[in-house]
């Protein structure tokens, strides 16, 4: 028996968080929703866009909105700028000799945090990339004999720059798979842009004084609640159909895996909750399918990239929308 979601409390919390982030990040409701979806689904997110669209600010704001243990500062937020000469040690940490204790002690790297912003992840060498992605997947770090668990709340926001591709190491499909969602941050619309220019000072001060609206416990609670979102059998069937269709489609070389399907389900639940619902509807696959699946698929050509998944989704939504209900 699935426990009912404590919807009112969850909704309030989400709204608080969203509103708080929106004081800084304007006109990006959809992106904020995606990020929260990834957060609530206990996953990670990859953002791809040109520099200067607000990716870093976004991550920072999110981290600062969640209060850490001390109640004053936000949760532990770390930012790593990935470069080709970065080493895994720089992420994980290293053993150093403690003069006082006369023994090697483990100096934790920036990965031991709550919210991690991995900037320009595709600039680091594959070695570093895989170290990071392993941590993301397993939620722990093993150094020698000792296993160090990561924080309970560990959320990675990675960014990737689609321009200036020279000297980069594009993430292989298997590693992209670790990210629950991949989104395009995108530019804001004209009107919002004008507002931002008019109020950039206000935004600056907002960023410096981001309120901590939720505690870490509350976030963990929301993550638990997201698991309980009700999912109709037809929606599960739809996820299955979409996954299968990606494997059958003529223009898709590599279809979605079963793990992708499970991720898809988790994301759907989280997204429904983010949208204030205790059940998944047709709107949820409509909105997140592309973010969840697009980066996991390999297409035959560029044209197919634009059409194939939309085509599959269209077919499935058409089926769902015509489902008969009632006797």
């Amino acid at each position: 028996m699935i426990e009912t979601v404590q919807i009112d409390q969850a909704l309030t919390n989400i709204q608080k968080l969203t509103a708080n982030i929106e004081t800084v990040i304007r006109g990006k409701r959809m992106q904020i929703q995606f990020i929260l979806t990834a957060l609530l689904a206990k996953g990670h997110i990859l953002m791809e866009d040109n520099p200067g669209t607000g990716k870093t600010v976004m991550a920072k704001t999110l981290a600062q909105s969640i209060s850490g243990g001390d109640g004053e500062h936000g949760v532990n937020f770390k930012r790593i700028q990935f470069t080709p000469d970065l080493l895994p040690m720089d992420l994980i940490g290293s053993h150093i000799f403690d003069d006082v204790q006369k023994e090697f002690i483990f100096k934790k790297g920036p990965l031991f945090c709550n919210v991690l912003l991995a900037d320009e992840i595709n600039r680091a060498s594959p070695k570093v990339q895989s170290a990071l992605l392993e941590c993301m997947a397993e939620h722990q770090i093993t150094m020698g004999d000792v296993t160090y668990p990561l924080e309970k709340l560990f959320f990675t926001i990675a960014t990737q720059n689609p321009v200036e591709m020279e000297g980069t190491y594009p993430l292989p499909a298997a590693q992209l798979d670790r990210f629950f969602l991949k989104i395009h941050f995108g530019y804001v619309d004209e009107e919002t842009e004008l507002n931002i220019y008019k109020d950039y000072l206000g935004i600056q001060s907002n960023l410096e004084h981001v309120q901590q609206v939720l505690s870490m416990e509350e976030i963990l609670f929301l993550q638990d609640e997201a698991e309980k979102v009700y999912m109709h059998d037809e929606i599960i069937a739809a996820v299955r159909n979409i996954v299968w269709d990606t494997r059958k489609h003529a223009d898709i070389v590599l279809g979605a895996s079963t793990r992708s399907g499970i991720t898809f389900l988790k994301c759907l639940k989280a997204f429904a909750l983010v949208n204030g619902r205790t059940f998944v509807t047709e709107d949820d696959p409509q909105n997140i399918t592309s973010a969840v699946l697009d980066h996991r698929l390999i297409y035959r050509n560029k044209e197919a990239k634009q059409k194939a998944l939309a085509n599959i989704l269209d077919k499935e939504l058409n089926r769902l929308s015509k489902l008969k209900i009632g006797g």
Binding site: Y230, K248, H249, F279, I312, L317, N318, K324, I325
Partner: protein, 874 residues
């Protein structure tokens, strides 16, 4: 090599262009084949050459091949094949034959090849192709058919329709976006529209000119004459049956030309002599009376419902040999009492159909008789007829051997007797009005006026008859005969124009049908009861065998009979002699003179046949013995000795082995042994069989065909020759097309009505919500606001934005109902219940009626609604 056209397009080309063109090709080749001997009537194969060339080329040029180079290869092929044929075949004739065949093949195949290329690649090809076909048809028609309006219309109408069709369709296919959805839908819609327009056009033409077309149809199709070997617009007075025998026809038309053969049809012995007892008085042999006239088709027809039916029409092939059939009611029906006598006639059939019965009027008796052995090869069957003949009747009327005193006296005598009839006052009114019926058209008033004019001086009916005859024989102001006989009189240019008027007032040339028809209406206009009789004219050519007459194909004839109360129907032939081919008398041969006396005739069913001993055992149900008839209900067995017998059927002599168990046969015996074995009054069949020798020798066995087999055959023929009612076919097609169009336009509204009703009348809460949601989606979709790939919420917001409605609220509740396990709150339930009607009203208010109406005619939206997206599977 890449493709130029998609498969869709190639299929469309094959079905819509190649197929109709192949059909036209077949038709044209079939047509041409009947005129040009070199083609050797192999139109099916030739049509296939053409069609295969076209089909192959259409497929071939769907790929990126160049025409010039590929055509060169094709011609190289031809050349090699030609050389091979030249070297392989032996003998001059074979080589010639094979190379002609190959030439035909290569020409037709190449033509098809070019056509296929044109359909596939060239935009303007269809125009040239249509012109080419029309030109070809012009050449064919001008070389083979008499050029007149009718011929041209029926020869070119199909080609014109084809030309319109092919140009339109080719352009349609060319301009189609084959990538887009609904390619075939688009195509069928256009074709439907085209069919609608063309059919409506044809229907308009057909309806306005119905009369003309009916006449053309009658003239060109419908009747058997069309399938004559000569195939052209000509008429025969006789028809050729399937087995090659001849019969008279039960209708007669007036056409542009008469087709006459020269073959011997039958020979007859007629015991009718003038008072001197020596001079034969020939009588016309009648087959039918044409008492009715179809004004629309200008056809003289038989009428089984004519008053006082005096036509005796037995089927001699059904009467067992030597048995007789009598119908004395015809004598009563003629109402003739004065100067009548019974006359015998023996008819020996050559080409005449076995089932045909011809005899001078008024025949009432038919007995089948055997053909003497020596003449069996020559004559197929024979019968004896008895007639109630008038002394005043004679074949001599317009054919009057000049200077024959006796004949002239006879004519004067009979005319003076007939002059006693001064009017027809005492006649039965129904009878009189039937036989004096005239159509009411102006055309016939003109004939009536002529009748009045030429008979102004004549007082009695016979004098009027003579005046009409004299009018046909009269000379014009230049001393030339006013009327001429012609087998090829031609017909008026307008198909529906009266042919009789054309004959009487303009052309003045014609054959018997014209003279008889004109005389009939001249007489009827004067109130003289008359009818047309059809059969054979009798010419006395032989002085060797008086009373024997020979009937050739060209003697098939039609003439007029006039009714004189008390004297009955008297023949009057007004067809003037043909001056050009004046009775090129045909040699008469020896008549079958030695009739044998028949002693025994047994009629019954075969029990078994012994072909070795030449004996037949049969069950006799009817027996003729020394001219006395015995019959029994329980058949008696009889053994016959067939060693000397000739076995015959309706169509000729056969072997004894053709006689099978269960057949109906008649066996006749002329055996001398039976001559003195006379039967006494007490004898019955059993006692006679005891008297006669066993087995009894017979000389003749006739097999009588079963009725059903014949009927079946006849039925088949009838079914085949049933003319197609084009007008009705067109109407039905038009209605079907219109119904299709209506369905196409009406279906969106009908679907909406169904969905709307369901949305309003569902009790189950969940189902009600579903029906309402579906109705709303359909309605909005039909109005042009398709959901496309928007999610439910996105779409609802889009609509709310547009119309200021509350669809999003409803949509959310609906989604909750659909996907959530939670139940609805009261408020939500209320929302579901009260959302639908106001919502539709709201939309209706904001979309004008005109827009709604036009959008609801648009079936594209409906198709779009029901269309399921498909994924492109690997």
């Amino acid at each position: 090599i890449g493709k130029i056209h998609s498969w869709k397009k190639v299929i469309a080309q094959s079905v819509l262009l190649v197929l109709p063109t192949a059909a036209v090709g077949f038709y044209m080749l079939w047509n041409v084949n009947s005129y040009y001997e070199i083609l050797q009537n192999d139109w099916l194969m030739q049509g296939l050459y053409f069609a295969s060339g076209m089909a192959l080329s259409t497929l071939f040029y769907a790929y990126r091949f160049r025409f010039i180079s590929t055509a060169a290869i094709l011609f190289l092929f031809y050349f090699i094949a030609y050389k091979v044929i030249g070297n392989v075949t032996f003998g001059e004739f074979d080589a010639f034959f094979a190379s002609v065949q190959f030439l035909i093949f290569s020409v037709l195949f190449s033509l098809g090849w070019i056509a296929g290329f044109g359909f596939s690649r060239s935009r303007y090809f269809t125009i040239f192709w249509s012109i080419f076909l029309l030109a070809l048809q012009i050449i064919v028609v001008s070389k083979t058919t008499a050029i007149n309006a009718n011929a041209l219309i029926s020869a070119f109408a199909p080609f014109l329709v084809y030309a319109f069709y092919i140009i339109y369709t080719a352009e349609l296919i060319r301009n189609m976006n084959e990538e887009g959805k609904g390619f075939f839908w688009f195509l069928s819609k256009r074709m439907l529209g085209f069919a609608f327009v063309i059919i409506a056009m044809l229907l308009g033409i057909f309806t306005v000119f119905q009369k003309d077309f009916k006449a053309i149809e009658k003239e060109w199709g419908g009747s058997e004459a069309k399938y004559d070997k000569n195939g052209s617009n000509s008429e025969r007075m006789t028809k050729e049956n399937k087995d090659g025998s001849l019969s008279n026809k039960n209708e007669m038309r007036m056409t542009g030309s008469l087709n006459k053969g020269k073959r011997l049809v039958f020979v007859a012995k007629l015991d009718n002599f003038f008072n001197d007892g020596k001079t034969p008085n020939p009588l016309y042999f009648t087959a039918y009376y044409y008492t009715k006239f179809d004004t629309l088709t200008q056809t003289f027809e038989t009428d089984s419902s004519m008053p006082s039916n005096d036509l005796f029409k037995p089927d001699p092939s059904k009467i067992p040999l030597y048995f007789a059939k009598t119908d004395s009611s015809v004598i009563k029906n003629t109402g003739a009492t004065k100067y009548r006598k019974v006359v015998n006639a023996d008819v020996y059939k050559v080409l005449l159909s076995p089932s045909e019965y011809l005899a001078p009027s008024t025949a009432y008796y038919c007995q089948t008789i055997g053909v003497p052995n020596d003449y069996k090869d020559q004559y197929k069957s024979a019968y004896r007829a008895k007639m109630w003949v008038s002394d005043l009747n004679s074949a001599y009327f317009i054919y009057n051997p000049a200077g024959n005193e006796m004949l002239e006296t006879f004519q004067e005598q009979r005319f003076s007797k007939l002059r006693e009839i001064r009017n027809f006052d005492g006649l039965d009114a129904k009878f009189k009005s039937y036989y004096t019926f005239m159509p009411g058209d102006d055309d016939y008033k003109r004939i009536a006026a002529l009748g009045k004019k030429i008979t102004a001086d004549a007082k009695t009916p016979i004098d009027k008859m003579l005046a009409i005859r004299d009018y046909f024989l009269s000379k014009d102001e230049f001393g030339q005969p006013l009327f001429q006989y012609s087998d090829n009189p031609g017909i008026p240019g307008i198909p529906s124009a009266s042919k009789l008027n054309y004959f009487l007032f303009e052309n003045r040339k014609g054959y018997c049908a014209y003279y008889a028809g004109a005389t009939l209406f001249l007489l009827r206009s004067l109130g003289i009861p008359s009818r047309i009789a059809a059969g054979f004219l009798t010419v006395d050519r032989s002085s060797k065998n008086p009373g024997w007459y020979w009937f050739y194909e060209d003697q098939a004839h039609a003439w007029v009979q006039v009714y004189f109360p008390g004297y009955g129907w008297i023949d009057f032939d007004t067809t003037i002699p043909d001056v050009n081919t004046q009775q090129a008398s045909q040699p008469d041969q020896t008549p079958p003179l030695d009739m044998q006396q028949v002693y025994l005739v047994a009629d019954g069913e075969v029990l078994n046949v012994d072909t070795v001993a030449k004996q037949v055992r049969m069950n006799v149900s009817n027996l003729l013995y020394h001219d006395k008839n015995y019959s029994t209900d329980s058949a008696e067995e009889l053994m016959i000795d067939a060693s000397l017998a000739t076995v015959s059927t309706d169509t000729g002599t056969v072997r004894l082995s053709a006689v099978k168990k269960g057949m109906h046969i008649t066996a006749a015996s002329y055996a001398e042994v039976l001559k003195n074995l006379n039967a006494t009054a007490e004898d019955n069949m059993v006692s006679i069989f005891k008297k006669i020798p066993k087995p009894v020798p017979v000389d003749e066995i006739k097999i009588i065909e079963k009725d059903e087999a014949k009927k079946q055959q006849k039925k088949n023929v009838n079914e085949l020759s049933e003319p197609i009612d084009w007008l009705r076919t067109l109407w039905i097609t038009l209605i079907a097309v219109a119904a299709l169009v209506f369905i196409v336009f009406a279906s969106p509204s009908i679907i909406w009505q169904v969905l709307n009703t369901r949305a309003e009348n569902t009790s189950d809460a969940k189902r009600a919500a579903f029906n309402k949601y579906r109705a709303v989606m359909y309605y909005l979709n039909q109005l042009g606001y398709a959901r496309d790939n928007k999610g439910p919420q996105q779409y609802a917001l889009f609509i709310d934005n547009k119309f200021g409605t509350q669809l999003n609220n409803f949509s959310n509740i609906y989604q909750k109902l659909k996907y959530s396990s939670a139940s609805l709150t009261e408020r939500e339930q209320l929302m579901v219940n009260e959302f639908y009607k106001p919502f539709i009203q709201q939309i209706r208010k904001q979309v004008s009626f005109k827009t709604r109406f036009s959008r609801f005619l648009n079936i594209y939206n409906t198709i779009h609604y029901f269309n399921q997206p498909k994924i492109n599977k690997a």
